[in-house]
């Protein structure tokens, strides 16, 4: 279907189902129950899950296929965001121009950065991209304050020109919309004690994510993707055969930059605010973590990694001591205090610690990321009923 093999089609269908039914999947616990703390089915987090999924899918096209580790991808996300917010300030609150322009601007910027950085490979490439990202951050934070709003960032204001929109009435605030459908409008469905929220902005982001995922499958399976893999496996050998690999790596860099710009534009479409921290090097590091945690070079890995990290950031970081005390209240005092003392460093502001430990465990025991974990579990079941189609469990030919 759609030019995909049977296996890829089923993967795409799984992603579609996960994305479209996320409001149900992420809200497994009834309202008001003790476990409701772990529900992630509210619009803001769901939007972030799919948007950072797009960001990671794009990053994976560069890192997973060519092996070039960019440490400055957040710069493209940030540039896309600034482009999008300016479209909203100047043209219209409709999200379409904002998203389209964010992709174009991020693409152009990544062409510049890639053209310079790709003169080197390996660690030098990583450092160059990191330097570019930090420069962009510093510029956005202070020097370019008239354009970027500096520390305060940018938001749509009552006084913005917005030449395509009708003038706002007094007191009406500008809201991001898609031809009148407001991005923050939600419908709610309550079934028993469960409350499911269907948010317009989330579904827009989810559909864009599905399209982005589909395009990434096509890139992975194309001759172009094969060329990129060749760069990863042995660039020297490629060069000796007379191939010039630079256009391919540059194309991959620009494509992944455009994905980052798209994610940046969508972030603005969902939440009309840009701050310079979006371009800080930790944000660039985060997308590397997402990709490696999920499984670099796999199709669905980056999406899983992005979801995992954003879930940790938003859910685990909000558990505070009071909530812990509620959980362990049934235990005798001494044990309760002991457990709270033991668990407390890993929750709330300590969520980074938890994430770091999980990351270490994954890298050590599952080098292929969460995807490898899934494959191992699947293989355990598959071993029982033999699979005649691929007796060695591999679908790729040996090198």
């Amino acid at each position: 279907m759609l030019g995909l093999s049977k296996k890829d089609t089923s993967l795409l269908i799984i992603v579609c189902i996960l994305a479209l039914f996320a409001p149900f999947i992420l809200n497994p616990f009834p309202e008001g129950s003790a476990m409701a703390q772990f529900n992630a089915g509210y619009p803001d987090l769901m939007q972030r899950l799919v948007i950072f999924g797009i960001f990671a899918i794009g990053f994976n096209i560069l890192f997973g296929l060519t092996g070039y580790l960019s440490f400055g991808h957040a710069a493209f996300l940030g540039v896309g965001s600034y482009a999008a917010i300016w479209m909203m300030k100047l043209l219209t609150m409709n999200v379409i121009p904002a998203i389209v322009v964010s992709i174009i601007v991020a693409g152009a910027f990544s062409l510049l950065v890639g053209w310079i950085s790709l003169r080197r490979s390996g660690i030098y490439f990583s450092i160059l991209t990191l330097a570019f990202a930090q420069m962009s951050y510093a510029l956005a934070y202070s020097v370019l304050t008239p354009i970027t709003g500096g520390e305060t960032g940018l938001q749509p204001k009552y006084t913005d020109p917005r030449i395509f929109d009708r003038a706002l009435e007094q007191g009406e605030s500008a809201r991001a919309n898609l031809f009148g459908l407001q991005m923050n409008s939600s419908a709610e469905l309550s079934v028993g004690n469960w409350l499911f929220t269907f948010n317009a902005g989330y579904y827009l982001a989810a559909i864009v994510m599905i399209v982005a995922f589909y395009m990434s499958i096509r890139i992975f399976r194309s001759p172009f993707g094969l060329m990129l893999r060749a760069v990863k496996s042995n660039q020297n050998r490629m060069n000796y055969t007379g191939m010039n690999s630079k256009p391919y790596t540059l194309a991959a860099f620009v494509i992944s930059g455009m994905y980052a710009g798209l994610a940046g534009g969508l972030l603005v479409a969902m939440d009309t605010q840009v701050g310079a921290e979006r371009m800080f090097w930790t944000a660039s590091g985060e997308v590397v973590l997402m990709t490696i945690l999920g499984g670099a070079g796999t199709l669905i890995g980056p999406v899983l990694g992005a979801g995992f990290i954003k879930y940790m950031e938003n859910i685990v970081s909000k558990i505070n001591k009071g909530i812990l005390e509620q959980w362990f209240a049934f235990l005798p005092d001494g044990i309760e205090d002991l457990l709270i003392t033991l668990v407390y460093p890993f929750i709330g502001k300590g969520w980074h610690l938890t994430l770091g430990m999980i990351f270490m465990l994954v890298v050590i025991f599952l080098p292929g990321g969460l995807v490898e974990g899934g494959q191992r579990v699947a293989a355990m079941f598959r071993r029982k009923k033999s699979n005649p189609e691929t007796p060695d469990g591999k679908t790729t030919p040996a090198e």
Partner: protein, 447 residues
């Protein structure tokens, strides 16, 4: 490779999904409440959004302590704290409007994005009807705009930039803390009285929004009294060693150094300046002096002995002896064992002011609460008579000019109050050039 084989199983699957998709909208119901997160049941949820990691984590921790204390007092626990000295007697210690106060916490990380994500999850997931806290103006402006869109009240925590209630003001946002303009207006006369009126000032300014407004405020107030500004240099926010910025100061012929820095920046720049021996120098036959426009106890602690004799301004200090301050220091000290910082004070007061406004308005509706806060005059909160001005949602109250204490008696006793600048002297017109350019808009109740 394309294969469009229609299988029985595939058809069934697609049909089921499509059917479910079509059936969903018939179950959907629009939210029928009058405003966002109208409290249901016997509790009301407030969102405390403070920096728990990053450069201002110390302040955030103190803010959170203050909020926990405020919730305890609102629910009738503890010794009642400022409820006893507050001039409005609407709060009974039975929660807000009879509903028990509960709270959720989040980490702003002192990043606008993270702060908005955290505030959004409080509003969307936890049903918070008010968001408060924060320790940076960038975060305050970002979260304030979010609360305006979402239709909840935002009670700003520690934010000192003019913009929060200046060009970025919003109808749903309120600030109790003072601002850069007030610092400048309160400091200038004290500086002129102590250092004379023919001084040459050199500014080092943190290179971001708050730095700019503070520099502008101090500069225009001191220049109005006869000072001359020799130079103003911007320093990167991430700078930790300021020696390369301090060296040129002496060559410039300036005899006063103004450090428009906050937090760790100020601790480092002040330490560098003192280590360079600036304060022992004689320039233009005058003692070289250093000024820090915004002081906090936590910063004074970081800079140690270097703060001795250095002037600055602050919103509140625990050594004040009015009834309100004494009551607050007592209940905070009893609970936590040390005196509160100004960040803790402003956050505690904001929580109480919000609760009181709900009681007086008889509703949690942001529009009703906003109306109750606008133009509200109160006393007994530690700052003397205070007005929540309706035009820009900024509190107007006395400002403290403080000085690093020469002989501190404890690690908390680092600042002494030099002068309480009366409110008239720090009041400005809502369209003053330093704050002009914004519009409150109208209140948004959401839903």
């Amino acid at each position: 490779m394309s294969n469009s084989n229609l299988t029985r199983r595939g058809l069934l699957k697609t049909g089921a999904i499509a059917g479910a998709g079509l059936a969903v909208p018939t179950y959907l119901s629009a939210d029928g409440h009058a405003y966002t997160n109208a409290p249901q049941g016997a509790t009301v949820t407030l969102g405390f959004n403070v920096p728990q990691s990053g450069p201002y984590a110390d302040e955030g921790a103190d803010e959170l302590r203050a909020y926990e204390l405020a919730v305890e007092h609102l629910n009738g626990g503890g010794d009642g704290g400022l409820l006893n000295t507050f001039s409005s007697k609407a709060l009974k210690g039975n929660g807000i409007l009879g509903k028990k106060v509960e709270y959720v916490t989040g980490d702003t990380q002192t990043k606008s994005d993270a702060a908005r994500a955290s505030a959004k999850s409080m509003i969307e997931k936890d049903g918070a009807v008010m968001i408060t806290g924060g320790s940076s103006s960038g975060v305050a402006v970002a979260v304030q705009a979010l609360c305006q869109e979402a239709g909840v009240i935002f009670m700003a925590g520690l934010t000192h930039s003019n913009d929060t209630t200046g060009k970025d003001k919003r109808a749903n946002g309120f600030r109790h803390f003072f601002n850069s303009y007030m610092s400048g207006a309160a400091l200038a006369p004290v500086l002129a009285a102590n250092y004379g009126t023919d001084r040459k000032a050199y500014h080092l300014t943190a290179d971001y929004n708050w730095g700019y407004t503070t520099e502008e405020a101090v500069r225009s107030s001191t220049e109005a009294l006869g000072w001359e500004t020799v130079n103003a240099v911007k320093t990167p926010l991430t700078q930790t060693d300021f020696s390369s910025y301090i060296a040129p100061v002496l060559q410039s012929g300036a005899d006063v150094l103004v450090l428009n820095h906050y937090g760790g920046n100020m601790v480092n720049s002040l330490t560098n300046a003192v280590q360079f021996g600036l304060r022992d120098k004689l320039v233009n036959d005058k003692n070289f002096e250093i000024v820090v426009p915004l002081y906090s106890r936590l910063m004074a602690k970081g800079a140690g002995a270097n703060v001795k004799g250095i002037f600055g301004s602050t919103n509140w200090h625990w050594s004040l002896t009015d009834e309100g301050s004494k009551a607050f220091v007592k209940s905070f000290g009893t609970k936590y064992g040390f005196p509160p910082s100004q960040a803790a004070h402003t956050c505690y007061v904001q929580a109480l002011l919000y609760a009181d406004a709900c009681e007086r308005a008889g509703t949690f509706n942001p529009c009703g609460v906003g109306e109750a806060l606008e133009g509200f005059e109160f006393d007994g909160m530690g700052n003397g008579k205070t007005l929540y001005r309706a035009e820009d949602h900024q509190c107007f109250k006395d400002v403290l000019v403080v000085k690093g204490k020469e002989n501190p008696t404890s690690e908390f006793d680092l600042l002494e109050v030099v002068e309480v600048t009366p409110v008239e002297q720090v009041t400005y017109a809502p369209d003053h050039p330093q704050v002009a350019g914004g519009s409150l808009g109208t209140c948004n109740p959401g839903a």
